[in-house]
């Protein structure tokens, strides 16, 4: 495509928002923004939401007290209510009767300018949409939802994080249909590697069921696990084998990526990804979706498969729920005296804030970990790791994530003084590892199933102690 000469607004966009604009279209930013907003209000049903928020904003500043970003920076622009007002002002001025009337009568009413849109883009991408502020707001305003809507409008207006945009394009329109461009071959040989690992760690001859029809579970995990977190997958396989459910699950080969970046910034992509997942489950005629250890993948499946999944959406089970279920039924046994270090648990926002997965991992951990310490504030009100909402995949804002986003989480980790911190979410693990590195915290970040892998007893395989000695021998 010949390098067209870029007009002023395009150049300004390139230098103000370097990693948020791929190729800025020519027309004015304000018109694009208002067009996008009008189209959204017409076809989706956000209008009642914005109406009721315009009516009940109380500006009482309670939400700022709980926001991890504001507690660190203390700036006015980080108050969640301020961010929401930016968007609500535009809605009230251009899309409500009162706003139109006010603009007719007083001359200096609110007018949307490019500067305000840029400020919106900057502010919306500082927030990780961890929704801690929603629990504190007396009027129940969900600033996470408004941030998402703001990003959605910006994405339609041409401003959205390049990293997310590229990976979603690959996932939806690329031929590998996953965010990390892992071809099917690469996935299959990772599975072979896991089979060998199982064999030498447990001495089991098993074959990972791929593309099997009419299974109870269709397994989806964050596709980056195939590359970066093999032992979590190993833990998953171990649990499945130990529970004897080996023939009740399968992995789809056409679409094996549970990641859904649409949840962070675009309903349109969210829906199309969910439709891909549901399509895969229907192709394999599976009963339910089994989601691996990934915060936003499990939430986007759990919350949005029923919404976009058509008439009879299949139920969604998180792997943590599945493991707890097996533990309770005694299908798997965990050796309690393997893990000696001090262990703590970090609640990924996407699964804990809604109160879905909070006590399950704790029950599992307490069953086989001797020294377990709880983070304060733990459970539903836990702090965000700083990398949520797709910020972790933007490397350019590494220092923002370290200094501002993850500061509170780092203090929490130091306060617990744990050796191992369990974070059942790919993004959280990546961010926490960077945090640990940045603040030199003597703590190791692992997935929940990495720990289970160490302590699991598989009948017919090597016992947990033998594997522990082998690992220590190997380490020396």
């Amino acid at each position: 495509m010949p390098e067209t000469v870029e007009n002023a607004s395009q150049q300004m966009l390139r230098e103000r928002l370097p990693y948020y604009v791929e190729n800025p279209p020519a027309t004015g930013l304000v018109e694009r923004f208002l067009d996008a907003f009008a189209a959204i209000l017409e076809h989706t049903d956000y209008k009642p939401l914005l109406d009721s928020y315009c009516r009940t904003t109380n500006k009482c500043n309670r939400c700022s007290v709980t926001c991890p970003v504001y507690q660190v920076t203390g700036e006015a622009r980080d108050v969640p209510c301020y961010k929401t007002t930016l968007l609500l002002q535009v809605y009230q001025r251009y899309f409500s009767l009162g706003g139109w009337m006010r603009s007719q009568f007083n001359t200096h009413a609110f007018e949307l300018t490019e500067e305000i849109i840029l400020e919106m883009a900057d502010v919306f991408y500082r927030c990780t949409a961890c929704r801690r502020c929603t629990l504190e707001c007396p009027m129940g305003m969900d600033h996470g939802l408004i941030t998402r809507l703001g990003r959605y409008i910006l994405s339609l207006a041409g401003i959205s994080s390049k990293a997310l945009q590229v990976s979603v394009r690959e996932q939806l329109e690329g031929e590998t249909h996953n965010t990390s461009k892992i071809p099917k071959v690469a996935m299959l040989n990772t599975l072979e590697f896991l089979q060998e690992e199982l064999e030498d760690q447990f001495g089991l001859q098993v074959e990972v069921p791929v593309d099997k029809q009419d299974r109870d579970f269709v397994f989806f995990c964050a596709v980056s696990d195939y590359l970066m977190e093999p032992d979590t997958l190993l833990g998953n396989l171990a649990v499945l084998y130990a529970a004897g459910d080996w023939d009740r699950w399968t992995i789809g080969s056409c679409n094996y990526d549970g990641i859904n970046y649409g949840l962070f910034y675009s309903d349109w992509h969210l829906e199309r990804i969910i439709k891909q997942l549901v399509g895969e489950v229907e192709r394999l005629n599976g009963k339910n979706l089994l989601i691996g250890e990934c915060g936003h993948a499990s939430r986007s499946a759990h919350d949005f498969v029923p919404v976009f999944g058509g008439k009879r959406p299949s139920p969604v089970v998180s792997f943590i729920e599945y493991t707890l279920d097996c533990l309770r039924k005694g299908k798997i046994t965990l050796n309690p005296n393997i893990i000696t270090q001090k262990v703590t648990y970090h609640d990924p926002c996407n699964i804990a804030r809604g109160g879905w997965i909070v006590d399950q991992p704790r029950e599992i951990l307490k069953s086989f970990v001797k020294d377990y310490v709880e983070m304060t504030p733990g459970g539903k009100l836990n702090y965000c790791c700083g990398g949520g909402g797709g910020l972790v995949s933007i490397d350019e804002i590494h220092d923002y994530r370290m200094e501002v986003g993850g500061r509170k989480k780092a203090e929490q980790l130091i306060a617990t003084g744990a050796d191992i911190c369990i974070a059942p979410c790919a993004n959280c693990k990546k961010q926490l590892k960077e945090l640990v590195e940045h603040y030199e915290i003597p703590c190791e970040i692992m997935g929940l199933h990495d720990l289970i892998l160490k302590a699991i007893e598989i009948p017919g395989g090597k016992s947990a102690e033998e594997r522990l000695e082998e690992a220590q021998l190997y380490a020396m």
């Binding site: 109406d51 939802l145 969210l270 809604g354």
Partner: protein, 232 residues
């Protein structure tokens, strides 16, 4: 003066009170309409119990009063006690409700009503001060936030003076007229400003519902903006 009072007590009261009732009813119906008509098909997975527990948590917000901006939250909570009890159960108003709705509510004794009114006025002043004093609050406050506080304060102040002639600087009829007019101003502003949280407060956990997005909407939006078969 007497004619002004008759006007304020008669037709003006009827019009503004009715305006408030219908305005709040309109907000209520719009919320219910959104809940049951627009999102009808997608409400299977609404965590109703969790929503009820959270919003009830705000009616008796012990957990919330100890965290965050303590002064602001506590004075707001105390203000709300007085602001709800006094107008409804004050002896003078009981006669009004009996005339209008033929319902006889139990009346507050005079001393209790007075102390509650004083506490409410003080709490309001604290709220006003902290809204103006706190820099963070001042940046994000719209002009209507402070104005609404003053509009709420006026009826309590004038009502208190009207009820206690000894402390009343103005003649009784003037103070009574100001009490009526300020109350009617409050009635008119209730549906138009954030005061409509009288009704919308009970829907404060409604944003759970708004996560139930509309299927197929994304494609139509993209089609509207970029035409058929738009690429990301």
């Amino acid at each position: 003066m007497r004619t002004w009072i008759d006007l304020a007590m008669g037709p003006l009261f009827a019009v503004t009170f009715l305006f408030m009732l219908i305005g709040l009813l309109r907000h209520l119906i719009q919320q219910l309409d959104t809940l049951f008509r627009r999102k009808a098909g997608r409400l299977r997975h609404m965590p109703w119990r969790k929503m009820a527990r959270d919003s009830l948590g705000w009616v008796v917000p012990i957990r919330h009063l100890t965290s965050g901006n303590v002064l602001f939250s506590n004075s707001s909570f105390i203000f709300h006690i007085g602001a709800i009890l006094v107008p409804l159960f004050y002896a003078g108003h009981i006669a009004l409700w009996e005339k209008l709705f033929a319902v006889s509510l139990p009346a507050l004794s005079a001393t209790v009503a007075d102390t509650l009114t004083i506490i409410t006025i003080l709490a309001l002043l604290v709220l006003l001060a902290s809204r103006l004093g706190n820099t963070k609050l001042r940046t994000i406050n719209r002009s209507s936030d402070t104005a609404v506080l003053i509009v709420v304060l006026l009826p309590f102040l004038t009502g208190f003076f009207a009820a206690h002639p000894t402390m009343n600087p103005l003649p009784w009829q003037a103070m009574f007229l100001m009490h009526l007019l300020s109350a009617e101003l409050l009635f008119v502003l209730v549906p138009l400003t954030k005061l409509s949280h009288i009704v919308l407060f009970f829907f404060d956990r409604i944003s759970e519902m708004h996560w139930q997005l509309k299927p197929g909407a994304g494609d139509r939006v993209a089609e509207t903006l970029f035409g058929k078969g738009a690429k990301i």
